[in-house]
Structures are given as structure tokens and as C-alpha cells.
């Protein structure tokens, strides 16, 4: 396989993972108006929990689901117990999430040690599938398919259900949604649980590709941040498009201009913030 194809395959895979991570981040940002700086930590903690579940003998899928459930509880707890106390004070909430990310990183170091933990690809998914003329590694293909399925499910949830309509109302205009009787604070908890669960799930799914190591949180959080700024906060299509743009920029930037890789990554975010602060699909500036 040529270098270009390999890069493209990796880019699409990373795009899928990033979507799983940033969809929740985007909804939280859109609804609560805060960048949740613990989101990278949710990804890492989820991945570490996944390795523990794997060690207990669960297979990767069950481990991912169990880890997602655990992260949903942790995320909900953080929202109810800490962020709720600071309702309306966006800056204080951001600072709390920043402090929490320090704490989670240190807890992970304490519990799982400093050595990277590699995760095996499930036995049935180790081969490659030929699609047209491209040979696509099966596991990577599965990640992309899962991302697409999750995107579709989230879209149905947001666009076709009562809960989704309430979330959209909250993103558009939270005070007005409150007046019509929607309990926006309960939506906060739901969206926070959902975002944390997706991040934890993505962490486990990413394990076989990225492995799990201290500092994974700091690697993933900026990527999620760029995706959401690029796509627009609270917008699902924005998160999807942004994820794949960043997936490509990251892999091609690393390969072609390794010395400037981070500049290539952050420049689009900066341009968007300066020129079109609401992002490609967003409705509000952050």
C-alpha cells in the first residue's frame, strides 16, 4: 500500500475516533456554554478502565460498554456535585474542569502506573478487507463504521425525539427553553453523562490503535477542542466534518511537515476563532 493510501486510511480512522470524542464535547459546549476541559481525561480514564475490564476477561466490546457506563456515572456525578454548584458562572466551571483534569491524570498514574499499556485488537478483526482497490485494516474499518452508526443514532436522537428537541432548544436559547418549561438543568446532566460515556467508549475503542499512556488526555483534549471550534459548538454535522478535517490534517501534517505539525493543526482553529467565531456550522460564538 502506498504511503498516501496508508495516511488516508489512518486519517479516516482518527476522524472516526475524534468524532466519538468530540460529539459529546460539542453538545456540552453548545448547551452549557463551557469547554469541558476534563473531556480528554474522560477519554483516558475510560481507556484505562477498559484495560482493567479486559484484564478481568471481558472482550473488547463488553469492556467498551462497561467503561462507557462507568464514565456516564462519573460524568453525571461531576455535573451534579460540582458544576451544578457554579450554575451560571461559566469561567468558574471551566476552571473546575481544569482542576479535575489534573486530579484524574494523577489518579490514573497512581492506579495504572506510568508505562504505556497496549491493547490487543480482537481476534476476529486483525485482518484487512479489500474495498475497491484499497486494502482497509478490518479493525480500523470497524471504528469508522461505529462512528457513522453513532453519528446516525445521535442525529435521530437530536432530530426525531422529544429529548433531542429539548436539547436543541437549550442549545439555541437556554433561558427561553426554561420559560417554556424545559428543565434545562436536567438536560445538562443528561448531556454530560452522554458526553462522558462517548468519550470513555472512544477511549477503549482507540486502545488497540493509540495504546493507553499517561498524557493521552493532554493529547486528545486539544484535538477535540479544535474539532469543535472548527465545526461549531453544539452542532453534530460540524463535529463530524471537523473530526475528519482534523484527522486528515493531523496525519498528513505529521508525515509531511513533522516540525510544523502542531502549527498546521492549530492554525485553522485560530483562523476560525478570529474570522468566524461561531464555527462552520455553529449558531453562537463561544
Amino acid at each position: 500500500m502506498s504511503l498516501w493510501l496508508l495516511l488516508a486510511v489512518n486519517s479516516v480512522t482518527l476522524g472516526g475516533l475524534l468524532f466519538l470524542l468530540s460529539a459529546g464535547f460539542s453538545l456540552i459546549f453548545g448547551l452549557m456554554r463551557i469547554p469541558n476541559l476534563t473531556h480528554g481525561s474522560f477519554f483516558m480514564l475510560g481507556a484505562y478502565l477498559g484495560t482493567s475490564f479486559l484484564a478481568l476477561g471481558l472482550n473488547l466490546w463488553l469492556a467498551a460498554l462497561a467503561s462507557a457506563a462507568a464514565m456516564a456515572m462519573i460524568g453525571g456525578g461531576i455535573e451534579r456535585l460540582l458544576l451544578r454548584r457554579l450554575a451560571g458562572q461559566e469561567l468558574a466551571q471551566v476552571l473546575v474542569t481544569l482542576g479535575l483534569s489534573f486530579m484524574i491524570a494523577d489518579l490514573c498514574l497512581m492506579e495504572w502506573g506510568g508505562d504505556p499499556i497496549s491493547v490487543d485488537t480482537p481476534a476476529g478483526l486483525r485482518g484487512a478487507v479489500p474495498i475497491l482497490s484499497i486494502v482497509f485494516p478490518t479493525y480500523r474499518l470497524v471504528i469508522v463504521i461505529i462512528a457513522v452508526v453513532v453519528a446516525a443514532a445521535l442525529w435521530v436522537m437530536l432530530d426525531r425525539t422529544r429529548l433531542g428537541a429539548m436539547i436543541r432548544a437549550g442549545v439555541d436559547d437556554a433561558p427561553m427553553a426554561r420559560i417554556t418549561g424545559i428543565r434545562v438543568s436536567r438536560l445538562f446532566t443528561i448531556v454530560f453523562c452522554l458526553g462522558a460515556a462517548l468519550a470513555g467508549f472512544a477511549g477503549v475503542m482507540g486502545g488497540p490503535i493509540l495504546s493507553v499512556y499517561p498524557g493521552l488526555d493532554a493529547d486528545m483534549l486539544p484535538l477535540a477542542l479544535i474539532v469543535v471550534i472548527l465545526g461549531g459548538t453544539g452542532s453534530l454535522p460540524g463535529a463530524l466534518l471537523g473530526s475528519f478535517i482534523i484527522g486528515f490534517l493531523y496525519n498528513f501534517g505529521q508525515a509531511l511537515f513533522p516540525e510544523l505539525a502542531y502549527i498546521i493543526l492549530f492554525l485553522p482553529m485560530l483562523l476560525i476563532l478570529v474570522v468566524r467565531p461561531q464555527g462552520l456550522f455553529g449558531r453562537h460564538a463561544p
Binding site: I34, L100, M103, I263, F266, L273
Partner: protein
């Protein structure tokens, strides 16, 4: 009068640190506290007085450190290297300010975060320029007026001199009409515009002032460690600087200094006894934001006054409760 006595006592205590501490290790920690306090004071101009929370100040700090280290390692003298580094920090701050001041609040925080990450990426990845993870070694410390700063005590006095300069600059700045107008842009930007002030320009100049002192701290840091690496510019450093400002009490003169002391002591002294100081740091951060949002110094002052007036009887306490407890 009482204030003057406290001031003289504080100065005396600072000036005699090497004599009553004795051990060179602790003198070095005192120097570190002063260096970080300068960064925190610089950041406080934006966070406390302008109401703009920046998560990119480690980038500014790092630019000055890297510029000086790079030039000195390349054979430049210390004085021209320091001057070029300070000129660079002003230029970088200006670019930061122009981009970041398109927003306020969360937007400002995120733009500064992105800019800080870009600088970190340059330091980490542009190996041809910055040496990447290996960092840059600085062969020697400067020797102003022929006094060698190699040992801990002279270096402490050098740092103390710069620190006092920073404190005086901050005190003058806060009391100046410009400082007052900056606070005006924090509290009532629209009214300030209506009164004919150029809000953007005021914030821009405040950013330059803040960036300048962050750069000065970066220079001192480069001399102190005689080494810079990308770690200095990482998001964690920016977060630590912000923690210093907020934990001590943003918008006060003493707060950022106390915050810097708290964080440095935690990092260096407590880490010898407690393994999980990073966890503790995060926990303190969260606790302060939730329970003492005004910071340790104003918070303690408030509690102390409240207890004091409680001892002396009701009237003063009643006044305090009525909202007269202006914290200075």
C-alpha cells in the same frame, strides 16, 4: 503608619532570607517563588484587573526563556540577548493580543489556549530551531556589574531586585488612571465606550504590560535553570500560573505572590513527603474555585476581620454583614 511598619518588616524578611534560611536548597526555592510570583503578577493584570482569563501565558513566559537561551547558547552576550528576548516578548504579546482580543470571556480563554499550544508545538516539534524535547542548555548565568550569580545567594538577591521592581510597577499601575480605566473596561465595557474610552486599546496595552512581566519571569527562569524545555510552555504551566493568581486572589497585589508561594512550596516541599501532589494541586484548585472564589488572601482577610469584629462586638460585624466589608 501600621501599613508602613508591615511593609518595612516584609522587606527586611525578604532581604534576610539567605541568612535565616541558611540552606542553599531553600534559598533556591525562595528564588523560584519570586520568579513565579512575577509571572503571576503579570498574569494578574489580565485576570484580575482586565477580567480576561488567559490560558496561554506559559507561552509568553517560554518565548522569552527560549529566545534568551537560544541567543546565549549561540554565543551572544547576556545583555544583548536579554534585550532581544524582551523585544521579542513585546512583539509576541502584541500578536497574541491582536488575535485574542477579538473575544472576551470563554472565547478569549480559548484563543489564548490555542496560541499557547501553537508555541508549545513549535518548541516541541521544530527540532531544528528549539532542540525539541532535549531543550536548550544555557552555558552560564549573567554577571551584572561583574557580580557572579552562579551561587544561590547572589542569584536570590538579583531575583529579589527584579521582583521588587515588578511589585512597584504593579502598585503604580493599579493606582494610575490607566489602571482605573482598565478596571472600568472589566466592569462596564459599554459604559467606558460611551464615555469615549478606547476599550480595545486599553486592553491591548494591558496585554502588553502583562506579557512583558511574564517574559521577565521567563528570562529569570532561563537563568535559574540554565535550561529550557518544551515542558515550560505546556498547558499545565499556564494552568499552574492561573492557579497561582486565582488561589491567592486575583485583582490584589499580595494574592498572586501568596499563590505563587503556595504552588511552589506544594511542588517542591510537599512533593518530598506526599507522592500525589499533582492530585492535591488539582483538588486545591477545585476547592478554591468552589468555596473561596475570591482567593486565599481576600478570603482569609474577610474571615479574620469577621472574627476580629466579632470579638470586639456587634456594630462592626453588622456593618460587615451589610456589605461594607470592602476587601483591600
Amino acid at each position: 503608619m501600621r501599613k508602613a511598619i508591615v511593609l518595612v518588616l516584609a522587606l527586611l524578611a525578604l532581604a534576610t532570607v539567605p541568612y535565616w534560611i541558611g540552606n542553599g536548597y531553600y534559598v533556591n526555592i525562595a528564588s523560584q517563588i519570586l520568579i513565579w510570583a512575577i509571572l503571576a503578577l503579570g498574569l494578574n493584570v489580565l485576570v484580575g484587573h482586565a477580567g480576561l482569563v488567559s490560558l496561554g501565558h506559559a507561552g509568553l513566559f517560554g518565548v522569552a526563556a527560549y529566545a534568551a537561551a537560544w541567543l546565549v547558547a549561540g554565543g551572544w552576550g547576556h545583555l544583548p540577548a536579554a534585550l532581544v528576548a524582551l523585544a521579542m516578548i513585546i512583539a509576541t504579546s502584541a500578536v497574541f493580543a491582536v488575535l485574542a482580543l477579538r473575544a472576551t470571556g470563554i472565547g478569549f480563554l480559548m484563543i489564548t489556549l490555542a496560541l499557547g499550544q501553537i508555541l508549545w508545538g513549535v518548541a516541541y516539534r521544530w527540532i531544528g530551531l528549539t532542540g525539541g524535547d532535549n531543550g536548550i542548555n544555557v552555558p552560564s548565568r549573567p554577571a551584572p556589574f561583574g557580580i557572579s550569580l552562579t551561587f544561590s545567594t547572589p542569584f536570590y538577591y538579583f531575583t529579589l531586585a527584579v521582583f521588587l521592581l515588578a511589585v512597584v510597577a504593579m502598585a503604580v499601575f493599579v493606582r494610575s488612571p490607566f489602571g482605573a480605566s482598565l478596571k472600568g473596561t472589566r466592569d462596564q465595557p459599554r459604559r467606558m465606550t460611551a464615555l469615549g474610552y478606547n476599550v480595545w486599546l486599553i486592553r491591548f496595552l494591558a496585554f502588553l504590560f502583562s506579557g512583558f512581566w511574564s517574559g521577565v519571569a521567563g528570562l529569570l527562569f532561563c537563568y535559574y535553570n540554565q535550561f529550557v524545555s518544551p515542558n515550560v510552555l505546556a498547558l499545565g504551566s499556564s494552568a499552574e500560573a492561573l492557579l497561582m493568581v486565582i488561589s491567592g486572589g486575583s485583582g490584589t497585589l499580595l494574592g498572586p505572590i501568596a499563590g505563587a508561594a503556595l504552588v511552589v512550596v506544594m511542588k517542591n516541599v510537599a512533593s518530598a513527603y506526599i507522592e500525589r501532589w499533582n492530585f492535591l494541586l488539582g483538588a486545591i484548585f477545585v476547592a478554591i474555585v468552589i468555596f473561596m472564589p475570591e482567593g486565599l488572601v481576600p478570603g482569609t482577610v474577610r474571615l479574620w476581620r469577621w472574627a476580629w469584629s466579632g470579638l470586639r462586638g456587634g456594630r462592626a460585624a453588622a456593618l460587615l454583614r451589610a456589605g461594607d466589608g470592602t476587601v483591600r
